[in-house]
């Protein structure tokens, strides 16, 4: 079995560019975002065991790579953590991109009970930049208690971190070189934020419980405070969020359709939550 799978994989890769899709049509080719990847891989593995779907999945080039692969016919399904943009359409003129949102990745800025209890409810992008660039700054500058802001930075390479960095600095590469204590898994963030006085960190919004950690609102450029919940997530007003989507050419068919239907169903949406993202219901979609 292992050899057959390997053989299929190898032949799939070799034939992908040269032979008509009919010959390799049995292998569902999926490519794109590392953020979406864990959910889709687990769904595909389930479909392989239960329904014998054959697949090949990789994350070459991230979201952009996935969209390009669908556009050039190198993959049937692209995984992306951003909507198809004008540039993608320009690059593949006349191509019928079809997007299906399977989940929402929203990042909340969270504080523990002490900061929340002292009345801090929101931060603006400028304030977050100050916190990021001046370790040791006090909460008094942001209407909080006279304590140091203990900023736990989500470790690099996490989707959560890139959402945060894109929002606060436009691009992860632009984030200034400042060292902070780092945290990894969502469980760790929640434990450390709830148990460290003055703590602030980034956490996937689905992990906010309003009991041990509390989500701050974001003050946008026009002065409104937007909280990571309900409407604001559904209509995309909350700035630290992004849709996770699958891209196909036209309406999905065959195995691609099975995959997407599975992901939109109750089991698929459970996987979405398991990997720390908001299900469509949670995001009000």
């Amino acid at each position: 079995m292992g050899f057959r799978k390997l053989g299929l994989l190898v032949s799939g890769v070799m034939l992908a560019g040269t032979v008509s899709p009919a010959l390799v049509g049995e292998v569902l080719r999926v490519q794109g975002s590392t953020t979406v990847n864990p959910v889709v891989t687990e769904a595909l593995e389930f479909l392989r065991e239960e329904r014998g779907i054959r697949y090949r999945i990789d994350t070459l080039g991230g979201s952009a790579g996935g969209i390009r692969a669908v556009g050039t016919g190198a993959a049937e399904v692209g995984m992306s953590s951003k909507a198809i943009g004008d540039e993608d359409r320009r690059r593949h003129p006349g191509f019928d991109f079809h997007e299906t949102v399977i989940a929402v990745d929203a990042v909340a800025l969270v504080v523990g009970p002490d900061v929340w209890g002292a009345g801090v409810r929101s931060l603006s992008r400028e304030q977050v930049q100050v916190i990021y660039e001046r370790p040791g700054v006090s909460w008094t500058e942001f209407g909080g208690p006279d304590r140091r802001v203990v900023f736990f930075n989500k470790e690099p390479g996490r989707g959560t971190w890139s959402v945060f960095a894109e929002w606060s600095y436009g691009d992860p590469g632009e984030a200034p070189p400042v060292s902070h204590p780092e945290v990894g898994a969502n469980e760790e963030v929640r434990t450390k934020v709830s148990r460290t006085r003055g703590a602030l960190s980034q956490l996937s919004a689905s992990w906010v419980d309003g009991r041990t950690v509390f989500a701050l609102g974001i003050v946008n450029d026009s002065g409104e405070t937007i909280r990571p919940e309900g409407e604001a997530l559904a209509n995309g007003h909350y700035p630290l969020s992004r849709p996770l989507l699958l891209v196909t050419e036209g309406e999905p068919e065959g195995a691609a359709r099975e995959l997407i239907e599975f992901l939109l169903g109750p089991e698929g949406q459970r996987l979405v939550r398991k990997h720390g993202y908001l299900s469509l219901a949670e995001a009000g979609l």
Binding site: E155, P177, S179, H180, P181, V183, T196, R197, A199
Partner: protein
Amino acid sequence: MTRALAIEKERPSLAGTWSFTHDPWTTLVWGSLILSGGLFLFAGATLVWQSLPIWRHEGWGFLFGGEWFYRHELFGAGAMLYGSVAVAAIAVLLAVPLGVLAAVFLSEYLPRRLRWGMKVLVEALASVPSVVYGLFGVLVLREWVGGAVEPFGGWTGDTLLTAGLLLAVMALPLTVTLSDDALRGVAQEQRVAVRGLGLTRGETVLLVVLPQAWPAVVGATLLGLGRALGETIAVFLVVGRMDNQLPEKWFSLEMIFQPGQTLTSKLGGPETHLAAGDPLHWGAMMGLCLMLVAITVSCLGGARYLQGKGRGRA
């Protein structure tokens, strides 16, 4: 003395039989030796080979450089080296005196039946997986340290001190049980004889038993040190993983009350995955591996050397 001489005499005749071809047993043992030695050399050579880009990029500055920002291609391992040494030093300074004294109590003062029970308990503690200690560290130790370091300018419970304390707790059972073995290794007749000369129990321990057991105790310490330097997951969970925490003055203690990074916590983190595909960044990670291996291997070598020396004297 005569017995030792007899063994010495036998050896040349044994050494004479090491032809590969005819004796399958000899072939097996030689083969195993060559295979394990070869694997070690292969691993070492791979580390050196794969870390070449970083030595070309940073030179020796890689070892002590104070800045690590991989997005800006700055790779200095100084803060991690400092973190590893500081954490291990705290662990050894706490675990060894406590462990040796506890071992003295176990071996010299406790009635035999109680001693057996305690020994089982201590060895059970030594075999608890490190992730369990790590969780204990997150849930209990970091809370406690967080409050304790505030007067010293600390601002969170994830500090080098927390990691050091946790490692001390982890190293303690091993130190106790190995030291106890060393103390029990001193012949009972000597204790009886010395007590017969009128020395108190305390004097017997201090003047007769401990000096003889000392080399083995030091060996145990170095083994503990090696373990402390190599421990990853428990340290990872409580050290704070904050880069570039080098003290302004070497030997100033302020940094141990702050979050830091060790060689192992860096290697256990996400950068290993991020570095794959980028020869320079990957080289830097392999360089850290190489440093870690070099340090732990010297600890083990030191332990062997001291133990050998001790045996020579005794």
